[in-house]
Structures are given as C-alpha cells and as structure tokens.
Subunit: 384 residues, 2 copies
C-alpha cells in the first residue's frame, strides 16, 4: 500500500451550495477575476450573486480549450486590474484557465516560463492567489487537479502547466449548476468522468486511496449517466454524476491512467475535438483490447480481476463475467449517442501518427497491459 | 449528498517512506523544530536521518498529553531559535503539539489568544509554518485533523485550538514506524482508530466522502487489529492499521462522531487516562446501547441499517445480524486486553458528573440516537 495524495485545501459538494459563495471568498480581497464560459444565459443566478457582491469584478470569457494566446491575455488583464483572487465557473477549459491565472498573479514571468515541453518548465515560487473553482459540467474533475491543459496549436500539441500550488484553494461542486447542460455535453462529459474512475482502478499501479473513490463512483456512473442524459432535470442523477466527476478528478490527480488518456492527449492536440468526446469514444475499444490482451498474455493479472469487479458493479449481477463490462459500456455509449472517431474529425490515415505520438505518453504507461502498435491501432479501428 | 472536506496539502503513505524526508522538507528552511515523544530509543533510524541532514535542529520532548504550560514552553523555544518549520514524530500528543507550534511560529500572540472556551478563540491570521507530521502510532489520525487537543488541568477540561491552517502541510504515515509499539499501545490506539471509522459511519449525518473511508477501513480493522496486537512484527497487519488510523483522521475531521467521543473529551479532561484507552473502553457499550435504543425507538433508522452493514464486514458473514457487531467488538476488546473504566481510574461516584459534562458535547450531538441520562449512565455501567 502506497499513496502520495494531494488535493484542494477544501472541497465543498452539495445542491445549492453555490448560493453561499460570499462566505467562501471572505477575506480574499476586493478585486475579483471571474472567468466564465461561452453561453451568456448559462449560470444566470450564479452571476447575479456575483454582481450583488461588493466586489470590483473583471470578467473574462473562455470560449475554447485554453491556448497560450488566450491565457496570456487573461493573465495580462488580471495583472493590469490588480486582481486579488480568481473565481472560475464553467467546464474544464474555464477551470484550467483560472488555475493558470491564479498562479501567474502571484508569480512573475510569462506563461511560457512555466510550461512543460514547449516552455522552460520552471517551478512556481509562490503559492497561487486564492482560487474558487466551480465546475458547470460533470466531467473533468479539473477543480481538484493540479494542472492546466493548454493547447499549443502551432505545434499541434497540448501541454500542461503543473504544480501542487495550482490546486484551487476551494473546489465547489454544486450539482444544481449542471441541470441545464444539453444532452450531448451531458453524455460526453459524463463519459469523461466515467473513464476517469475506470482507468485509475485498472491501471498497472493502483493505490488504495484512489481505489476507494473508484469503487464508490463506478456503480454510481453505471446507474445514473443514462438517467442524467435522458432527463437533464433529474437532480438525483445530476448529483450522482457530479460526484462521479469529483471522484474522477481526485483519482486522476493521484493515480496513473491508461490507454484512453494515453490517446486523448495527443489526439486533443492534433484535432479540435473536445477531450470528453475523445475519451468517451475510445473507452469501449480500450476496454475490449485491454481485456483480450490480458486474457491472452496474463490471465492472472490483478487488473483483469478488477475488470471483473467492474463488470459486477456495472451490471449489478454478482455472476457477471469480465466481458460483460465491455458490453455494458458499448451499449451505454450507443444509447447516449457517443460519437465515433470519424465523427469528431479523425480519419484512418491519421492512425499511424496518432499511435506514434501516443505510445510513449505518460498515461499510456499506466495501462494495465503493454500494447504493441498493432493493438493500439486496433483500438482506433474499433472506435472509428 | 453534501460534503465540506479539508485535509493536509499532501498525504504520503507507505512502508519506508520516512527515509525520504529530506526530499519532503526541501525549501522549508534551515532551522527545524523537531518534536519527539518520551521513549529515547524509539525511532532511532528516524532521528539518525534527521541528525544527518544539514539542519539546525531544536529538539523538544513531549512526555504527556499537551497542556498549556508545555505548549507555551515549546512555542517560546521555537520562537527564540527562529525555527522555520516543524517536524513532529510521535503519537497524537506530539503531532498536536507540532500543530500549535507551527501555527504560533507564524502568528503573533499567546496560545490563550487562540484557544476555544478557556481563551479568546481568535482566528489565526496567517497560515502555519510548514509542518511535517509523522505518526508513530496507528491510532489518532491527528496528522490529518485541523485541531490540537490541549489539556487545561486547573479546569479539568480539554479544549481545542482549531483552524484549517493547522492541518499539517505534509502528513507522512509510514507503517514501519509502528513496528516497535508495545502490545498495550497497539491495542488502545488501534481501537481508537477503529472507533474513528465506526462513529462517523453510523452518526446522524454521514457524508459520502467519509462513508468511503469508513467502508474501506472497518473491514481492515476487523481483520488486522488482533493480528497487529498478537504479533507486532506483522507488517501487513501494521500497514492495515496505519491505514485505518489515517482513514479515521480523515473521517473524524470531516464528519460528526457519537457517544464514544462525546464521553471521551470530558473524561479525558477529568482523569489522566489516554484518549485511546477511554475510547476503546467505551465502544462496546456505546454500540450496545445505541443499537438497543434504535431498535426500540426507530427500527427504520438508517444508522441501524449501517450497524447491520458493519456486522457483515466485521464477521465476514453476509447473514450477520446487527447484534453480531456488538459481540464482535466485545470479544475483540477482551482478546486485546482493553481495560475497563475502573482500571483507568474512574469510579462509579464519578458517573453523574461525567454524564452531566458529556451530554451536551459536540460529539454527542452526532450520536445516531439521542440518549437520555439513564442510558448514558448505562453505557458507563456496562464499561465499568
């Protein structure tokens, strides 16, 4: 048993909790940098509350997955207006933008100084300015992770700015805020959350802390994702999916992942498809190929036993076999209209490059079984 | 579903992890305040590592549950020597002393300014100096809680200094460090940990985060506490009990408790008995009286269903009845020589005052069923 676990200073979860934000940011200062998503009508009540507070607010809109230009503009604006703290309300792109801004408000230098791979990869000297992260989707769990994923379009890659200081000071997860999500976003973000509690559970080096989160969350996702998709106003389903998303964030931040994420990073850099859609699209085939390879090569592998546990939770049938987990996920993906790879802009001719870029990614190293190029390609074919 | 969860910035768990402390405290400064327990031979390798680091170390010994005089002396010494960070290695008393010192190294004023009930109860203005907390017992879980329990002997009470800033920066739980614990300490601290995952699970307002910790920990404690007692060198048993202790700390810091802790605070203030022994001593009777009262008054109460779940985990028998949980705990307590109340210095004539002081304690308010004075007295009689 071994863990090295970090998370936000404080995690608040509950319906209606967003109405208490005044209490949460008490003592943080007067000048707020508030980041929001693209939809002007979404989160109306939330922004009315913000407007009603005695704050000097600088608003910033994030309308795509953050890239260097967008983040540089955000940091510049926040610094010019001497913002003392950050509030981010939105999907993963908004939440991640907030992490970078909160960090750079309290650390000198440019974004590039702190980026891995494309930048200097410097460590942050100072803790971030206080950041209250409030997800509007039930998917990324980014409110409790320590990195911001940043698009570098000219190099067709995504990189991370990563540091324990980037964990938001408070993560506030309010399921009510996800009630208005459209069906397709509910589906892809929900599958993103689902993947994030499956991959750490079957990875090649699980840990007992993350195991708890996954054991709790997998049955909830199995029981509630379709219900949340079918009836977006089902608050119990929304509540469970918001919880799954939070557990996914805690899990992925503190464990390894697997081939779904091993592919998702590079694909996300190469194509303009949302991260959740890519993950959702790949999960059934990754499960199938992983399970087949484990059965052939390592029938006693502990991860295979874990896939069988998952099968039991997914089907609620104590006699479920490991393959039942694949069938469940395949059926679920169909029933909530998860797209195929070709529907999110990927073509067969891209497969070789995707495999090349993905096979050494850090997430791929957590996959329960090492997959040769041919098997990686088969995952893409099965997902096409 | 509702949580408000805080914990240490970073939690590390694993055998042999203590040998990496040099990495953990990197950047914290040169002048360390190192707090240790009473036994000069205990943790020899640990202190050799400390001595081998390029640090200016001020040692401080804690030989009892901390009181105001002890803490005042510790703070004075740490301030005089301009200590930049704190390391605490020991049981709950050592760990709690470290929290108070780390806080007061970065906040002006005296201890009394910050104490609840007997002091001014001021809030800490600044975050604490970095604090690495390393438990040497598997019991309190104090490395991940936000309060220090302080004895006020002249008033015969225990009070807390409590603030989210008091969460240690790093909690390092290394089961190897508990290998040398004597049998009686293994027993009472182990039962303390066990109580701390039972009470939050059956309390009147459980939360889903803490539920996970308790569900994971209760079966481990049931399977391993006797083994750790029987053979102190059984590292698997030690590892599981260290994990249970950590889960107990996370649970009690983020949920309500019940009658065991409702009694333990006041009894600890009145008598010089170790907290773990008091808790261990009371658990069987609290379970019995709670279950009997729930059965009579509220047979549909959710906590009663949870006691039945616990019975299944404890006995590993899917058909276990709720009463089997009482029998299991009673038998366990006998087999590991948990003392009776009269053996830790409490007399029957004290019962009335204990009940009077305990019945309105904050932990008592979390008990799954409200108990009249006669039933509270019966708990003490059954534990006598």
């Amino acid at each position: 048993m071994k863990i090295d676990f970090s998370t936000s200073n404080r995690i608040i979860f509950g319906c209606g909790e967003f109405r208490k934000i005044a209490d949460l940011i008490k003592g943080w200062g007067h000048r707020a940098f508030v980041i929001r998503g693209n939809n002007p009508t979404y989160g109306k009540e939330f922004f009315e509350i913000i407007d009603g507070l005695d704050l000097e607010v600088t608003y910033f809109k994030v309308d795509k997955e953050p890239d260097i230009a967008l983040l540089t503009a955000a940091v510049k604006l926040a610094r010019e207006n001497k913002c003392e703290f950050v509030i981010g309300f939105g999907g993963g792109s908004v939440i991640d933008t907030g992490k970078a801004v909160a960090a750079l408000l309290n650390n000198d230098g440019d974004l590039m100084d702190y980026l891995e791979i494309v930048g200097k990869g410097l460590h942050l000297e100072n803790i971030s300015k206080p950041y209250l992260a409030i997800p509007s989707t039930a998917g990324t769990g980014s409110e409790v992770t320590r990195n911001a994923v940043i698009d570098v379009p000219e190099k067709k890659v995504k990189v991370s700015m990563r540091n324990a200081y980037m964990l938001p000071k408070i993560a506030l997860v309010d399921p009510e805020l996800t009630l208005g999500l459209p069906k397709n976003i509910t589906a892809t973000t929900g599958m993103d959350a689902f993947v994030q509690v499956i991959e750490p559970y079957v990875c090649n080096s699980p840990n007992p802390m993350v195991d708890m989160f996954c054991r709790d969350a997998i049955p909830r996702a199995a029981a509630k994702l379709f219900l949340a998709f079918q009836d977006g106003s089902n608050i119990k389903a929304r509540e469970n999916m918001a919880w799954v998303s939070l557990m996914g964030g805690l899990s992925l931040a503190n464990a390894k992942l697997g081939a779904v994420h091993g592919f998702a990073g590079p694909i996300g850099g190469m194509f303009h498809a949302p991260h959740g859609a890519i993950c959702a699209c790949l999960l059934p085939a990754v499960m199938r190929v992983n399970i087949e390879n484990l059965k052939n090569a390592e029938p006693q592998n502990a991860s295979l036993m874990r896939y069988r546990e998952i099968a039991v939770w997914l089907t609620n049938d104590l006699k479920a076999e490991v393959d039942d987990s694949i069938h469940f996920i395949e059926t679920l993906c169909k029933s909530i209209n998860i797209p195929r790879l070709h529907e999110i802009g990927i073509m067969e001719k891209d497969f070789a490059l995707i495999v090349e870029k993905s096979k050494h990614s850090s997430s791929m190293k957590g996959n329960p079984v090492q997959l040769p190029d041919a098997e990686l390609t088969r995952i893409l074919e099965l997902s096409f």
